[in-house]
Amino acid sequence: MTPESIPLSLFAPQLPIAGALAGALLAGMFSKHRSGTLARIIGAAGVLAGSALLFWGPPYADTWLVRAGGIARAWQLFFHLAALAFLASHRAQGEQPVALLLAALLGMDLIAAANDLLALYLGLELMSLPTYLLVYGLKPQKRSLEAAVKYFFAGGAASGMFLFGLSIWYAGTGTTALAPGGMLDRGPSSAASLAFVLMGSAALFKVGAFPFHFWLPDVYEASEPELGAFMSTAVKAAGFLMLMLLSIGHSSFDPIGNSGALFPNLGAWLPVVSVATMTVGNLLALRQTNLRRLLGYSSIAHVGTLLSAVWVWQAGGHGEELATIWFYLGATLFMNTGAFLFLKLAGISQVSELRGYGSRAPWAAAFFALMLLSLGGIPPTSGFLAKFYVVWDLLKGGGIGLAAAVAFNSLLGLGYYLNLIRVMALEEPGQRTPAEPPRPDAGTALVLLCCAAAATVGFLPEAREWLFTLMTL
């Protein structure tokens, strides 16, 4: 069976981005010193055009290789948003970072649109390679090189596992399509499960779940904060998307339906991994002195919560659970971006530098406190609402134990979030506290404003429904 060829129009949203990639590289050729800003503008234009095309571009299509519109569009919009935040806030020299980012963005768009395991693999590769380089490229020094190397090898091992899983799957079913059938027609065999576990662990690696999380704190600590923001939002979302694609298979993935899981045995071990991830993330975060590393572990803790949301979703969830996952990822997008950008602007990386910062820069401190409150899940903030939806679905879906674990971990989380607020607000400024308040420029200020606005959406319990309708219109 020779698959029919894919019309180029399906890739309409991705073309402007590829164009921007090429444009950025060319910009680098012409003017040496102003190439950075020029590349950023081109990049941003490309991404915006891509997002615009997402809505007015190709109608809903579901070919053997790629999908367009529907759920895929929702995820791609999310990735574009994260990329825009990165472009608006990063200040590195040269056009390299912009080009690498756009390449990574293309990779993510491919993952979102993948209907075929091979496309998924190539998307994973295209997303990972530029990220390894960005970790070192943005701030070339010993620490970031070390982080990049660690990230490369861990990522390499993961994609190696993914590939091996893919080969087993291909050997078993003879097709690399992301569709139930083939080997499964004769019922779930051990080979299929092995294939899934290998591919699933690659997804878990990308997300930073428990056994695969060791690289994450080092990379967040050493890389630039805006990359940390980008990775903790977009790359994490891509990881979750892969996990969901693998566990359900695309056909039943679209909007509401949830017929038969490609790999039904996900339910057995996902709760264990999610509770382990939550607890490890929170416990290790309690002792951190480096703020970026702390945000890394907090991101791991949030991954634990999200994994339990994914568990409920795949255990027979409907649109609601999917909306919960989206809302949580959306909330994380704004919370993490806000927190990381604050660290970048304030030039703070150690907790001791945060001491008494409230008296030096009250408004910046208030912003960071709002972000921390949202990360910690204190009621009026969107973080609380996200966690509330997860606990709500868990209770509805019968995961009482998981709900209790999420609740307990949010108390653990308060231990370090509240501590930061205490250090910032209640302590006297130490000698290492930066003297003057941060001066964000236009782009970053806009991003920070959006983060602050999004953090206070805790008042509207219907926010999840609006998000779902927005994403699936």
Partner: protein, 160 residues
């Protein structure tokens, strides 16, 4: 029959991989990797995908090995002194004997050319080529992009 040849190829690949693991020197491991790559190429050839075998030898054994050797040479000296010691001798013998054995088993089975070979491999190859640049065109584009990114990493290297 091709199966025995295939068995020898697979066996040698695994053997060389094991040897590579326990080599004290990087130089040794690199060479063992080269041997493994060649064996795998031979396996492709035997299985019935001669073009793939060729590409494997070209891309892997050629480009990647060269890079590896460059990296090994630029790493500190004590890791890459020339191959000496007993194991080197044995490996050399093995590297020679393995292809000979494969050829021998092929010829022995020459009466019936290897099943894969018979089935007009060219047709499969042609179909693959058609596929790569037809339906799989987007994926090849993505592979191209990957190579571009790799190039960027090297390009950046040359900036400073």
């Amino acid at each position: 029959m091709a199966a025995t040849a295939l068995a020898i190829c697979g066996g040698c690949a695994v053997l060389f991989a094991a040897f590579a693991l326990f080599q004290r020197t990087l130089y040794g491991s690199a060479l063992c990797l080269l041997a493994v790559l060649l064996q795998v190429g031979a396996a492709y050839f035997l299985i019935g995908a001669p073009l793939l075998g060729l590409i494997q030898v070209l891309v892997y054994a050629g480009a990647v090995m060269v890079l590896l050797v460059v990296a090994v040479m630029s790493s500190p000296p004590q890791l890459n002194e020339p191959w000496a010691g007993g194991t080197a001798k044995w490996l050399a013998w093995l590297a020679v004997l393995a292809p000979a054995a494969e050829l021998l088993s092929l010829l022995r089975a020459a009466s019936g050319a290897p099943a894969a070979l018979q089935r007009a491999p060219a047709a499969l190859e042609r179909q693959m080529a058609f596929l790569l640049f037809g339906p799989y065109a987007p994926l090849t584009e993505i592979a191209g992009l990957l190579v571009l990114v790799a190039a960027l990493s090297i390009l950046r290297e040359s900036h400073e």
